[in-house]
């Protein structure tokens, strides 16, 4: 365990050092984060200016959803994108061999090798949006912290889904951009899930669990806690299930990479 923590510290310090060689990226990430948040806020303001409300959520409440969405975006920029989208390179260039021959859990290595510092603007922006929302709603700082368990469950769910799709590249090298499809579906998480028509709501809860990613944590932030415990338990159940599934799936995928099947 201690070895893994030391390894993680080295992984992240070296990858940040490596990225610092390309300073212009910071500006680009900042602009992209600002643009994305501005776009989201503008979209919301169009609705609310016209007097609509998304399934009864007030403007600050909807901003809280956007805040959680931006935080998850930060997580995927920091870890999911740089690591999982490289599995395909490891397969194509054969560098997976080096990882498999190290006496270290290969899923740990492949999922956490790189920490991208360019997620920082998104993390800041997400926190700002959430803080603005809690302030507007006169909620306490504690209620913001109370959303952490739900956000962690969302992170587990997101990781499980992303990892599953990314490790499919062990068989089908050509589908390396499948995670972009996932990402565009996840965009639905910018808005409270109740705002969607019934069919979509069903789809985004049971097929692609976007509802658990942003709406459930945001509910905690804004104090819409009716039935919240039930959703939280479901979110954690789903998150743990997907995480365990990803571990099993990786082992299964490696058997194909290492040709145990034939």
């Amino acid at each position: 365990m201690k070895r893994y923590l030391r390894l993680l510290a080295l992984f992240w310090s070296t990858s940040v050092a490596q990225e610092m060689e390309y300073r212009l990226n910071f500006l680009l990430a900042l602009l992209s984060s600002l643009g994305s948040a501005a776009g989201g806020l503008f979209g919301l303001s169009l609705f609310y200016r016209a007097g609509h409300a998304l399934s009864g959520w007030t403007y600050p409440e909807a901003v809280a959803v956007l805040g959680v969405f931006t935080l998850l975006q930060a997580f995927s920029r920091a870890l999911l994108f740089p690591n999982l989208n490289r599995i395909v390179d490891h397969v194509q260039y054969g560098t997976l061999d080096f990882i498999l021959l190290k006496p270290v859990d290969s899923q740990f290595w492949i999922s956490l090798r790189i920490l991208s510092p360019w997620a920082l603007p998104d993390a800041l922006m997400g926190s700002l949006l959430l803080m603005w929302a809690t302030w507007q709603l006169k909620r306490s700082f504690l209620s913001l912290m109370g959303a952490l368990p739900a956000i962690l469950a969302g992170i587990l769910i997101l990781y499980g889904l992303w990892f599953f799709l990314a490790s499919l590249t062990i068989w089908f090298v050509k589908i390396y951009n499948v995670t972009y499809v996932l990402q565009s579906f996840l965009e639905a998480g910018r808005f409270p899930i109740g705002a969607y028509p019934a069919l979509f709501r069903w789809f985004f809860t049971f097929v692609l669990p976007v509802a658990f990613l942003t709406t459930v944590p945001a509910r905690q932030v804004v104090g819409r806690t009716a039935g919240h415990v039930g959703s939280l338990v479901m979110a954690w159940g789903l998150g743990l299930l997907l995480f365990a599934g990803s571990r099993m799936f990786w082992r299964f995928a490696l058997r194909f990479y290492t040709s145990a099947s034939s």
């Binding site: 080295l10 490596q18 061999d97 021959l101 270290v104 040709s259 034939s262």
Partner: protein
């Protein structure tokens, strides 16, 4: 004590077969035809601790597949394999701590950072203490003569320096068994010689077992007392290198430079003329005729320069498999 043992080791790949053209692709989409390709068949050999063994064979002979089975990267289809007492494909921690694989065409060092940063990661992976780490880096980098470059970003190093740093990264945990796949690929003669010298020193100093594939005869002859020749997935020869040369390649290559161009016809009576370019010529001559041929040439032609060497390994291998009536050793 046997460190590596294989018995009837076999690997069959199942690959999809597709007719060329779009019609073939269409048919392939609906009905997938598969074909079994035998990469390695009934490979049986034993390697003792401390031995340095060269795997020889043409491209596609099954050398890399065998290395991958020995390191546990792929699972054998049938047969038995034990390395250091382990079944490699289980990739148990105790097994992985004992081995290392160096691949000439792949790199594990981080491109944009100094090699020392990558070495530090490996030190933690193998649970080395800080003092042990420093001690080993100092020792190995001195042997490799790369103390001065460990603080430079890997992308700024020459190919030879990079390969040495790769070796250092692969050996930091002092593996007892070292697998090397084309470790000198693409290096210039000096760098090749330095790598060879280092590997020999490492073998002598730590008694490590080494298995090596290479296209360069010099690598094999400098390092390996024993070679295993693999062709079409089976062992064709297993024994000392000198025996292989006697048995399969009783040839030498003579390179001559004359004062004036000599016609190909005039050279053909000495042996097989490989190439004539202006005043230069390459001949392949039977080992036992070499002195005779050289004496006659010096007598009959205005020879300016003359060298005798082993033909390139590819050439030997090509000849071995072109000879009729050769079959694998039982």
């Amino acid at each position: 004590m046997a460190v590596i043992e294989t018995r009837n080791l076999t690997k069959i790949y199942r690959v999809a077969r597709k007719a060329p053209g779009w019609l073939g692709s269409l048919r392939h989409f609906f009905r997938r035809e598969v074909q079994d390709i035998v990469a390695v068949r009934d490979l049986t050999f034993t390697i003792e601790g401390g031995e340095v063994v060269g795997f020889l064979g043409p491209n596609g002979a099954g050398k890399t597949t065998t290395l991958k089975m020995l390191t546990g990267l792929i699972h054998p289809t049938s047969g038995e394999v034990r390395v250091a007492g382990f079944s490699p494909w289980k990739r148990e921690t105790a097994f992985l701590r004992n081995i290392s694989l160096v691949m000439g065409q792949k790199q594990q060092l981080i491109w944009d950072l100094p090699a020392l940063d990558s070495l530090r990661i490996n030190a933690v992976v193998y649970g080395l203490e800080e003092t042990t780490f420093r001690h080993r880096v100092a020792e190995l980098s001195e042997l490799l003569e790369i103390q001065h470059i460990l603080n430079q970003p890997v992308r700024k190093l020459s190919l030879g320096e990079r390969m040495k740093a790769e070796l250092l990264a692969a050996l930091l945990h002092f593996p007892r068994i070292l697998f090397l796949d084309e470790p000198t690929l693409g290096l210039d003669v000096n760098a090749q010689a330095a790598i060879r010298q280092f590997l020999r020193a490492y073998n002598e100093r730590y008694g490590a077992t080494m298995i090596l594939t290479s296209h360069y005869m010099a690598d094999i002859s400098a390092l390996c007392e024993r070679v295993i020749l693999i062709h079409q997935g089976t062992v064709w020869y297993d024994g000392p290198l000198s025996g292989l040369l006697e048995k399969f390649a009783p040839y030498r290559e003579i390179r001559v430079e004359f004062h004036q161009p000599i016609a190909r016809e005039n050279l053909q009576r000495f042996g097989e003329v490989e190439r004539v370019e202006g005043r230069r010529a390459h001949l392949i001559v039977r080992r036992k005729d070499v002195t005779d041929v050289v004496a006659q040439m010096l007598r009959n032609f205005p020879v300016m320069d003359l060298t005798i060497q082993d033909p390139p390994i590819e050439e030997i291998i090509r000849r071995v498999f072109a000879l009729p009536g050769h079959s694998p050793v039982p």
